[in-house]
């Protein structure tokens, strides 16, 4: 239902008075999430361009929960065209680091550096964390923004006990290797001003263990493994490579700053880690996290609904997720750039839209680029069916899959733009939305 979430939050507010007001919980998708919400929006950019995988959708999920609805989805062309001038913070999630750097190129690197030096906040997770670290490799050397080195780097690769294709990536004459995957426990620096928590857990999917220089501050370190940790090599190697190394780092750059997350703090299943992302944004963008204050009990004025187009979009989305879900049973994976993609990643894109389409439909809001969105939806379904047919015949589908993931990024970004426009539109009509501030106020650690 349209206002189910607001009702859930109201319910929590009524029934959980013992929760610290600053972190009053909110419930989404059936989960009780103490992630906090913002009293007004910083304007957030999310990088969805070349080299990114599906994990930027996790940032979307977390930002939405926190009430950060002023989102824009930026690809490499947008960055080069100066789109960062309109945002307070940019989130760059996982993917292929070389792919990210290659897509952004010199022009993108300059835009990114200018954005941060001008007071912007960069949140880099996994591949997004590797990107601004010190490197001599082309094109990563365009992004030597911070004095942080990779700890999980070796010339002599240890034996991979499992998931060999996820274990390492060539890095010149060395390898970046990933001793573990899945959940890891982080110890939070108690002087970080970020959290009262001592430990949090978050998943690690190839992100770095870091060796920061003096100008950077360690916010969290890899503290321990958990029952859910998957060891890809010998225990001792895992411990030596990760434990006590930096997992979350803050580095100043000009008037802005760069946050590097080794683990995916934005993974939606890790609420305490999500909360930390919110705290970082609160500190760095000068907005205050406080109780949910926006009432969405009244339905926004209805924009005439073109039922057929929104219904068509829903139908196409369903067609696509049916094919994608069926492919999860197939022993297929694709190597795109330096990264291995499984069919499950397709579902992450499609489910991110599917979970939101009912609300978008009920809102009556028709995105401005509905025609383009429908074309992307149809093309996605067609590509998926072609891939399925190729896999069934035992044929090659890497090229089609490469095309599909490009289209999925565009499709999801376009859809989510429309979705957040709808949310903002509803709030504005109720006079509850504070204007977004692009004026950059760096504080906290500054």
């Amino acid at each position: 239902m349209l206002f189910q979430r607001a009702k859930a939050i109201s319910h929590l507010m009524e029934n959980q008075a013992d929760i610290s007001p600053r972190w009053l919980g909110c419930a989404f998708e059936g989960a009780v999430a103490r992630v906090g919400t913002f009293s007004r929006y910083p304007r957030m950019g999310i990088y969805v361009g070349g080299g990114s995988s599906h994990s930027w959708l996790w940032f979307v999920e977390v930002f939405e929960r926190q009430g950060l609805w002023d989102l824009c989805f930026l690809d490499e062309d947008d960055l080069k065209a100066g789109a960062l001038g309109d945002v307070n913070a940019l989130a760059v999630s996982g993917g292929d680091t070389f792919g990210l750097a290659g897509s952004l190129g010199r022009e993108g690197a300059a835009a990114l550096k200018g954005f941060i030096e001008g007071g912007g906040v960069y949140l880099g997770s996994c591949a997004g964390a590797y990107l601004p670290m010190s490197s001599s490799k082309n094109p990563l050397n365009l992004f030597n923004f911070v004095d942080v080195k990779i700890a999980n780097l070796t010339k002599a690769l240890p034996p991979a006990l499992r998931l060999k294709d996820k274990f390492s990536t060539p890095y010149g004459c060395q390898y970046v290797f990933h001793p573990i995957r899945e959940e890891v426990c982080l110890g939070i620096d108690q002087h970080s001003h970020l959290s009262t928590m001592q430990f949090i857990t978050a998943p690690l999917y190839g992100g770095p263990a870091m060796l920061p220089g003096e100008s950077c501050r360690v916010i969290a370190r890899y503290h321990a493994f958990t029952e859910k940790t998957v060891f890809l090599t010998e225990d001792e190697m895992c411990r030596n490579t990760l434990l006590d190394k930096a997992a979350v780092v803050r580095c100043p750059l000009g008037r802005g700053c760069i946050y590097l997350f080794g683990p995916h703090l934005e993974h939606p299943c890790y609420l305490e880690a999500n909360r930390m992302v919110g705290e970082i944004l609160a500190l760095e963008t000068g907005v205050e996290l406080k109780n949910w204050s926006r009432s969405r009990e009244k339905r926004a004025g209805r924009i005439p609904l073109k039922k057929s187009s929104m219904g068509d979009l829903r139908g196409e989305l369903s067609n696509a997720r049916i094919v994608a879900a069926g492919m999860e049973f197939l022993p297929v994976r694709w190597t795109i750039g330096a990264k291995v993609y499984e069919p499950e990643k397709i579902c992450v894109f499609l489910e991110a839209m599917w979970r939101r389409i009912s609300l978008l439909q009920e809102s009556g809001f028709i995105p401005a680029e509905m025609g383009e969105l429908l074309s992307l939806a149809r093309y996605t379904t067609r590509l998926l069916r072609e891939i399925k047919a190729a896999v069934d015949k035992g044929g090659q589908s890497d090229f089609l899959a490469g095309e599909l993931f490009c289209v999925l990024r565009e499709y999801a970004a376009s859809f989510l733009s429309g979705y957040f426009q709808a949310l903002k539109s509803m709030d504005k009509q109720q006079g509850c939305l504070a204007p977004s501030g692009v004026k950059r106020l760096s504080r906290g650690f500054a």
Partner: protein, 440 residues
């Protein structure tokens, strides 16, 4: 309806190519409960259009034991009465999860079409390419076109397209409990079939309680007299058809269950390859799946060998005809060999043979299997018992075959499951009244 339900009824008008949704009101559920109770109500509501209605029970697709059933309800073009065909295997639950609790099909399409129902979306799509194809080819075509091997189909073959009295609506590739010529109804409406796929979720009012009570009931059910038995061979033995059981036993490759049914009641037989083979067969389709013993018994009565009987049944599956009725018509027409019968599929007629008058499908044996239901030996009492067991299954969405072998699945257990799962209290009197209506 908030729980155990998607809360929606889909109305499809084939004549205008339009679809619309209606809300499933809790008030209707409190009166007609679900399954055949509601499909009958919807049939009567749209009676002037002679609709085809598909529906699920409140327990369909849940953890309640044997909750695999959806129902196809329509007026039989053969008997002229309202009848209910069970939809089992995985198709029954697929319907439940594709976003609608009930589907009402009205009118006749100008061109061949099929319904593609998925995630609460209903498309009326062209079936021009499938028209003329047999049941297997059609299911394969739709699965390939839509890119998912898990799509479930209710589909007709050439028999339905030719409007044969013997035509049945098949489930995926296999025969169904349709002995009433519903396949002809589909053909008359130029409805080649219904393809279904849904990834929806069911809300449960008290999920922990529902899981706990279902587990408890399953534990009790598993101690039943059928324990250690499997497939049609053991069913045949239990109903006194030991010779027939021995006749097919050498061809059995494996037994499998419909969704969540504790008894593996479907039997796959190998014809073209060694039944003892435990690896992937060489051929694409080495045999056939039987969900009911009666077609086989009728074929045996013709004097065919086990192998020829099963080959004939496989041809029936592809052509989309009821094998039991085919055997009866062939016997009457003096056709004795498999080749003769297969060659006359398009010509066989019922000629007034309507051996079944009940509203529920005779695919399930009309006597208790394995268990003692304390029915006694009086045929009238046995018939009364059978009708009530079938009605219960068809109302709540429970496998009708398993209902005939598991006395632990009582009306009380179903009422209790609905209460826990949906919060709706159904009185035994209301249920008895509904069963009385359905059984005529």
């Amino acid at each position: 309806m908030e729980y155990l339900s998607s809360g929606k009824i889909l109305i499809v008008d084939l004549a205008s190519s339009e679809t619309r949704e209606e809300e499933l009101e809790e008030e209707l559920i409190s009166r007609k409960i679900g399954g055949a109770g509601v499909t009958t109500h919807l049939y009567n509501l749209y009676k002037s259009h002679d609709p085809i209605v598909v529906g699920s029970g409140l327990l369909t697709g849940t953890l309640f034991p044997a909750s695999d059933l959806s129902i196809l309800t329509a007026k039989s073009p053969v008997t002229g009465t309202l009848c209910h065909c069970p939809v089992t295997l995985k198709a029954g639950i697929e319907f439940k999860y594709c976003g609608f609790d009930y589907l009402v099909v009205l009118g006749t399409s100008a061109k061949p079409v099929f319904l593609w129902i998925h995630d609460g979306v209903a498309d009326i799509s062209s079936a021009e390419e499938a028209w003329g194809k047999d049941v297997w080819q059609t299911t394969d075509l739709w699965r390939k076109d839509m890119g998912d091997d898990l799509i479930q189909t209710l589909v007709i073959g050439k028999a339905g397209e030719m409007r044969s009295d013997l035509a049945q609506v098949s489930v995926n590739y296999w025969g169904s409990g349709d002995v009433w010529g519903f396949g002809r109804l589909f053909g008359e409406r130029r409805l080649k079939g219904i393809a279904m796929r849904g990834m929806g979720l069911l809300e449960i009012a008290n999920p922990e309680g529902f899981v706990e009570s279902s587990k408890k009931l399953l534990s009790a059910v598993k101690t039943g007299a059928w324990k250690g038995k499997a497939g049609l061979v053991d069913i045949l033995s239990s109903i006194g058809e030991k010779d027939e059981a021995d006749w097919i036993a050498p061809l059995v490759h494996r037994n499998s269950s419909s969704y969540n049914v504790p008894y593996a009641g479907n039997t796959f037989l190998y014809l073209d390859e060694d039944p003892s083979l435990l690896k992937e067969p060489q051929g694409a389709e080495p045999g056939l799946l039987l969900t009911s013993p009666y077609g086989l018994l009728a074929a045996k009565a013709l004097g065919l060998s086990a192998s020829d009987s099963l080959r004939l049944m496989r041809s029936c599956c592809r052509y989309g005809v009821d094998p039991e009725m085919v055997a009866l018509a062939a016997f009457r027409d003096g056709k004795k060999t498999r080749e003769e019968i297969e060659g006359s599929f398009g010509l066989l007629e019922r000629k007034g043979d309507i051996p079944w008058k009940q509203p529920f499908s005779p695919m399930c044996p009309q006597k208790p299997m394995f268990a003692d239901f304390s029915v006694g030996g009086d045929p009238k009492q046995i018939e009364k018992w059978w009708l009530r067991r079938q009605a219960l299954a068809y109302v709540f969405g429970v496998d009708p075959l398993f209902a005939g072998m598991s006395p632990e699945l009582t009306a009380e257990s179903m009422i209790e499951a609905v209460r826990i799962g949906s919060g709706i209290d159904i009185s035994e009197d209301a249920l008895d009244g509904l069963i009385g209506e359905l059984c005529g």
